[in-house]
Symmetry: C2
Subunit: 188 residues, 2 copies
Amino acid sequence: MVEEGTRRRGAALEADILDATWAELMAVGYARLTMEGVAARARTGKQVLYRRWRNRADLVIAAIRHHSGAIADRVPDTGSLRGDVLAVLRLMAERQRELGPDVVHGLMAEAGDRKSEAVEIMHGVMTTVLERAAERGEVPTADLPERIVTLPADLLRHEIVLSDRLVTEATLEEIVDDVFLPLVTGHG
Amino acid sequence: MVEEGTRRRGAALEADILDATWAELMAVGYARLTMEGVAARARTGKQVLYRRWRNRADLVIAAIRHHSGAIADRVPDTGSLRGDVLAVLRLMAERQRELGPDVVHGLMAEAGDRKSEAVEIMHGVMTTVLERAAERGEVPTADLPERIVTLPADLLRHEIVLSDRLVTEATLEEIVDDVFLPLVTGHG
DNA sequence: CTCCATTAGAGACGCACCGTCTCTTAAAAT
DNA sequence: ATTTTAAGAGACGGTGCGTCTCTAATGGAG
């Protein structure tokens, strides 16, 4: 809460705006989120938003990061490859569940250049997971084709964004047990 | 071409509008395609468009279908599973190349309910392909988990829509040789 | 402690396009 | 020949964009 007559600045203002953006996102979804709506909720002017972010997509991406932090900062380490991959997929699915499908879909359209960021981040995470598995001797080598490294994340992302099916724990297990593990264990 | 003072109707008018939509799509892309622009190019009024299609997405989907026909109507039959799957993926990739990435991305956002149509269509196509392969004895059974049936199409769709990488023939071969074939031949 | 450069807050502005509506008149139906 | 349908054209109110302008609060420099 902010006093009458005070004026926020810099990082404090930025945090308030990102909180307001998140609240607006939860309230009206991405399609009907407007810069004017965010500005009103944050009790500031549109100019203040445009001074920091070029457009809706950038603002919303920043708000999501602000709210839930980066996936890359918490790479799971459960002790088994299967557990690690499932945990990674659960993180992705949880985030999507919180956002809701229309936010995810809407963002994809306007994301433009930033679309491939997610792919690259997950490649890094999966590389770490696979290297640990190789050290434990669970897989012959961590030096797998890129396509296979990112396979679980790619499939889940496809499921979330491009199919309208609900993502359940069973979905994650299918991806890991029917597709990923058979490929990496029989690869030498 | 249309004479001065004549007035098109019914199917002929509809075909002209869909041609105009396609031309507009190629000229300005999806993001900047407007109902007003299409109406102007087709030399008709907006009302005529709204009488037939509820929104941009529906109109553009109809125009794409009108221009290139349905993939489901030409299921490849090359004599081998590998050849068939590659041919299916080539059809998908060709269509995407013609449309360009921004059209594909833009459509996804507004497609809403019609998004899963593509997934279902490709499931049907792949089922046919796999049944033929089972008859030839190339695979033990065509009765595979749904996730594996649609795997190649899903991966390619992910590549097209969610990564910004260029899709080449090598990409298609990776999907088929590194991922799909190892899974289906070693299954049963 | 005072002055100054910065920028927050507020809203007006022109613009583009949406989707609806009206009106006239050509083309088909009977 | 008359009636019904719907094409062609554009006006309309509405919404939100992104820009611009103005003022006054704020934090830093001296």
